[in-house]
């Protein structure tokens, strides 16, 4: 008898690259880790170019150029060109702050396919408050105009929390006014900065349900004009989200220093060994790195996940959330109603929505708390 090697995993669909953790904004729900990586640790243009070639050869189709603010890198046009030349569909995920007309022209000439622009509110006061940047509103609107004038598809991304939940309808109007083809209504997911600020951000359940209904009613009306994608707040959900589409199943996230992660928050799980793109090819990392193998598939699952009829739909939910809320990364995500912790977290969310403080810890390399 000879042992058979396990089948190699199916190839990833997309790679999200955090090119830098530098960012002019200070959003309280930033998906970057609390321990932001320093600029000196960022990998260079040539290394990114190699990673893009490896990603395309491995089967990735989309690359998301993210951060921090990706355009804070002086070589962003060269990085974009390298990704486009590798044959990847290039998506720039940006705050729109700090992108000059000249730089935008270079990005378009480099083969950029799509821009996703964040807004923190639908009026200047709300937007600039939650982006923690005075004057962001005007810069974002100017950026949106540059994108549509160039004929590129524009997505507006709106992260939703207690402070702007009442603006979901206005976000739809804003996206239409700016000529976006797509709108993301992304209810805050509580990791990293958002977890640290959860009590200040958590919205009440009834208002969340109203906002979801509003989007669902708008979708058929706007068919052919605006695509609206929605990420629902999972503390109030019945089933968990299949985080990152299932661990090590469709996506790779790469940090500014080159660490390859199964999801952007994976470093919050102690004991995982992450490989760096400086030391390994992306194919090796995808197939063999301990972090990607740790929770891939269903073998790691315990009950109630193991025998659940949705185990290959939800993939057990989110490992980082299981750790954060149940104290065990291999537990069922407490967002699932089958988790023994589910009722507790919904009650906690409801309490925070009602009585949580308004003091926010703005994202920063420095520690800073302000009302």
């Amino acid at each position: 008898m000879t042992a058979h090697a396990p089948l190699p995993p199916a190839p990833p669909i997309g790679v999200l690259v955090e090119l830098t953790h530098r960012c002019p904004l200070g959003c309280a729900y930033c998906s970057n880790p609390l321990a932001l990586e320093r600029p000196a640790a960022e990998i260079d243009t040539q290394t990114w170019a190699r990673v893009f070639s490896e990603a395309a050869a491995l089967g990735a189709l989309h690359v998301h150029l993210s951060g921090g603010e990706p355009t804070a890198r002086r070589d962003i046009a060269a990085i974009t060109r390298a990704a486009a030349e590798a044959g990847l569909y290039t998506n720039l995920i940006t705050s729109g702050v700090g992108v000059s007309e000249k730089l935008w022209g270079e990005l378009v000439a480099s083969g950029l396919d799509h821009a996703q622009l964040s807004f923190q509110g639908t009026d200047k006061a709300t937007n600039d408050r939650y982006g923690h940047y005075e004057g962001a509103w005007e810069k974002k609107r100017a950026f949106a105009a540059m994108v549509t004038n160039a004929g590129l598809p524009l997505t507006i991304n709106a992260v939703i929390h207690r402070g702007n939940l009442h603006q979901v309808g206005a976000f739809i109007e804003l996206a239409l006014e700016l000529g976006a083809r797509r709108l993301e209504v992304a209810h805050t997911q509580y990791y990293g900065w958002a977890l640290a600020n959860r009590a200040a951000l958590m919205p009440p359940k009834a208002e969340v349900m109203d906002a979801i209904a509003l989007v669902e009613a708008a979708r058929p009306r706007l068919s052919g004009q605006l695509v609206i994608d929605m990420v629902v707040p999972d503390y109030y959900a019945r089933y968990p989200k299949p985080c990152a589409g299932g661990w090590g199943r469709v996506a790779i996230n790469i940090s500014p220093s080159g660490k390859a992660l199964p999801c952007h928050a994976a470093e919050s799980i102690p004991g995982l060994e992450f490989w760096n793109v400086k030391d390994h090819s992306l194919a090796e990392i995808w197939r063999d790195s301990p972090a990607f193998r740790a929770f891939r598939g269903t073998d790691w699952m315990r009950e109630p996940c193991r025998s659940c009829e949705r185990r290959e739909i939800d993939w057990g939910g989110c490992r980082c959330q299981a750790l954060a809320l149940a104290g065990d990364a291999a537990a069922t995500d407490p967002a699932c109603h089958k988790s023994p912790h589910h009722a507790g977290i919904e009650a906690m969310a409801a309490a925070e929505a009602k009585t949580g403080p308004s003091a926010i810890r703005w994202r920063s390399y420095k520690e800073k708390v302000e009302a």
């Binding site: 050869a57 491995l58 083809r181």
Partner: protein
């Protein structure tokens, strides 16, 4: 509104028909979306160049597949209407 015989469908900027060599199939790449496309659909999209109108596209396909134009038209209109609703095809 359904696509008309004189409309000239095209893929807008940011929407790309690509052969996915790793998986051995055609795909339509769009913002945050990947549509799997079978060989027939890829042939239809290959003709959506903004120059040909729907009538010309149907005639071309009818000749290529040796099928009645009215059958082809029905399928093509359904497919293109669906892609238009998803904001990945323009006329």
């Amino acid at each position: 509104m359904s696509i008309a015989p004189t409309d000239r469908p095209r893929l807008p900027r940011g929407v790309k028909l690509r052969h996915d060599d790793v998986r051995g199939r055609w795909t339509l790449l769009a913002p945050e979306r990947i549509f799997e496309v079978d060989a027939t659909a890829a042939a239809v999209l290959g003709l959506c160049d903004g120059e040909r109108d729907l009538g010309a596209i149907v005639a071309d396909l009818a000749a290529r597949y040796n099928a009645p134009p009215e059958v082809i038209e029905k399928d093509v209109v359904k497919m293109l209407d669906d892609l238009k609703a998803k904001r990945v095809l323009e006329t």
